[in-house]
């Protein structure tokens, strides 16, 4: 590698990493946390077959799973100002990513709830617990254990998808790389470099997933 390229790499690395720390990671963490709240709430409502709310959840999931993430970003950031709702780039990205991710994860959690044996709820009732107590203490923890690998996959996918937020002017890692490239014009090196940083983040999350699965898996370990 010649000296100029090496200089570009060394010079650009912190300029890519810092937006990673200030935008990519916060966007992922905040949006995914909100997505989990939405997903669990939507899954529980559907599991309990709350009449109107179940219909509303189906509609929400249908819309957000059925349209491209990029289109959703554009509608919220460029479209909504037309009806008087103007959001800054970062909050707009948070809204879209949480709603989008929430729709997918709601399905994951709902399926995991349905997979808990029916006898678990009945055993809770017979131990004197109410529906809500049994859901909170018995059913939901088991469902989250089942859903964990799949939710981890969604999280890893989402880290990479946050690069789409560059399209609504959020200065996250990919947009930072683009901006540097506009000056020095080294697309191969810079885009590989930013790709490697995403790879690093995904690898860290995959490792965390393994740690989490081992902890949560305690009750499924067989003797011997």
């Amino acid at each position: 590698m010649d000296e100029r390229l090496l200089g570009i790499v060394l010079d650009s690395f912190p300029k890519i990493l810092i937006p990673g720390l200030t935008a990519t990671i916060p966007l992922t963490v905040i949006a995914f946390s909100l997505a989990m709240v939405i997903a669990v709430a939507a899954a529980l409502a559907q599991f309990a077959r709350v009449p109107a709310v179940t219909q509303l959840c189906r509609f929400y999931i249908w819309v957000f799973r059925g349209t491209p993430l990029l289109v959703q970003l554009f509608v919220v950031f460029y479209g909504l100002p037309r009806v008087g709702i103007t959001l800054d780039p970062f909050p707009a990205a948070v809204v879209v990513f949480s709603l989008n991710e929430g729709a997918y994860c709601a399905e994951t959690v709902r399926a995991a709830l349905e997979a808990v044996p029916a006898g678990q709820l009945e055993a809770g009732y017979c131990a004197g617990m109410s529906y809500l107590q049994t859901m909170r203490r018995i059913i939901l923890p088991q469902a989250m254990r089942t859903a964990f690998p799949s939710l981890s996959n969604s999280l890893i996918a989402m880290v990479k998808d946050t690069s789409l937020a560059s399209n609504i002017t959020v200065v996250e890692m990919f947009r930072a790389a683009e901006q540097i490239n506009a000056v020095v014009y080294e697309p191969l090196v810079l885009y590989i470099e930013v790709g490697l940083v995403y790879l690093l983040l995904s690898t860290a999350l995959t490792w965390l997933q393994g740690v989490g699965e081992r902890r949560l898996g305690a009750y499924q370990r067989q003797e011997g």
Partner: protein
């Protein structure tokens, strides 16, 4: 203590309980016998409100309820006076043996944790499971799981324990340990209503027998009478060796 009258239940067009009467007094060990499909499980489930009966009345401790119209508050309250042991154990899969026993005490009955743990240890000790308190259900044999389930049932000191074929899912060599635990409960004066195919257990442990067929009670009475002088031909046939396999 428990008096059920005229309980009816249908699943769609299938009438499963056709007006069943049942009385259990304090200290009784009552056994429900009958061929499979006769509605025994449904009867127990209706009595504990896991199914909603279509009609009939239920009196518990002198309080009377119209089945099918029991308010949720009363259902919760009545369930806290009873316990249920399932054919398939239904231990909480995400809880250890000890936590399975303490869960209902702490969460449903608001008992302080230390006291619940103390009761839980004692209950597991009584079923011979004190060496496995920190094991998860997946780490226990069927017989051990069912003994934990019985500990869970008795820990709350219920007024009655319902058993639905507690040994039917077990390998023959494991039924003995569970029946022994139930025998000991009976000796301690625990009120029990047991659906079972174990005629030996019924004969030696129970004091009341109800024989059901096709959603109705064919014959009911003290165990000695029913076993030694069954009035109905159908009961006689069922109690004969090999009579249940049909």
């Amino acid at each position: 203590m428990l008096e059920v009258k005229g309980i009816r239940k249908s699943f769609g067009a299938l009438e499963v309980l056709k007006g069943v009467d049942l009385t259990v007094n304090r200290g009784d060990v009552a056994v429900i016998l009958g061929p499979s499909g006769s509605g025994k499980t449904t009867l127990l489930r209706c009595v504990n409100f896991l199914e909603t009966a279509d009609g009939g009345t239920l009196a518990f401790d002198g309080e009377e309820f119209r089945l099918g119209h029991v308010p949720r508050r009363d259902v919760l309250r009545l369930r806290r006076k009873t316990a249920f042991v399932f054919q398939s154990y239904n231990l909480f899969l995400n809880k250890t043996a000890l936590e399975n026993v303490t869960e209902g005490l702490i969460v449903a009955r608001k008992m302080p944790k230390a006291q619940a743990v103390e009761l839980g240890r004692r209950a597991l000790d009584r079923v011979g499971m004190s060496g496995r308190m920190d094991h998860y259900p997946s780490q226990l044999s069927g017989g051990q799981q069912q003994r934990v389930a019985i500990a869970r049932a008795m820990a709350a000191d219920p007024e009655i324990i319902y058993f639905d074929e507690p040994t039917s899912a077990l390998d023959p060599e494991l039924t003995g340990e569970v029946l022994a635990v139930m025998r000991r409960l009976a000796e301690d004066g625990v009120t029990m209503l047991v659906v079972t195919h174990e005629l030996g257990f019924a004969r030696t442990v129970s004091n009341q027998v109800v024989f059901m067929e096709d959603g109705a009670v064919v014959e009911a009475g003290p165990t000695r009478e029913v076993f030694e002088r069954p009035r109905e031909a159908r009961t006689r046939a069922f109690l004969q060796p090999g009579g249940q396999s049909e």
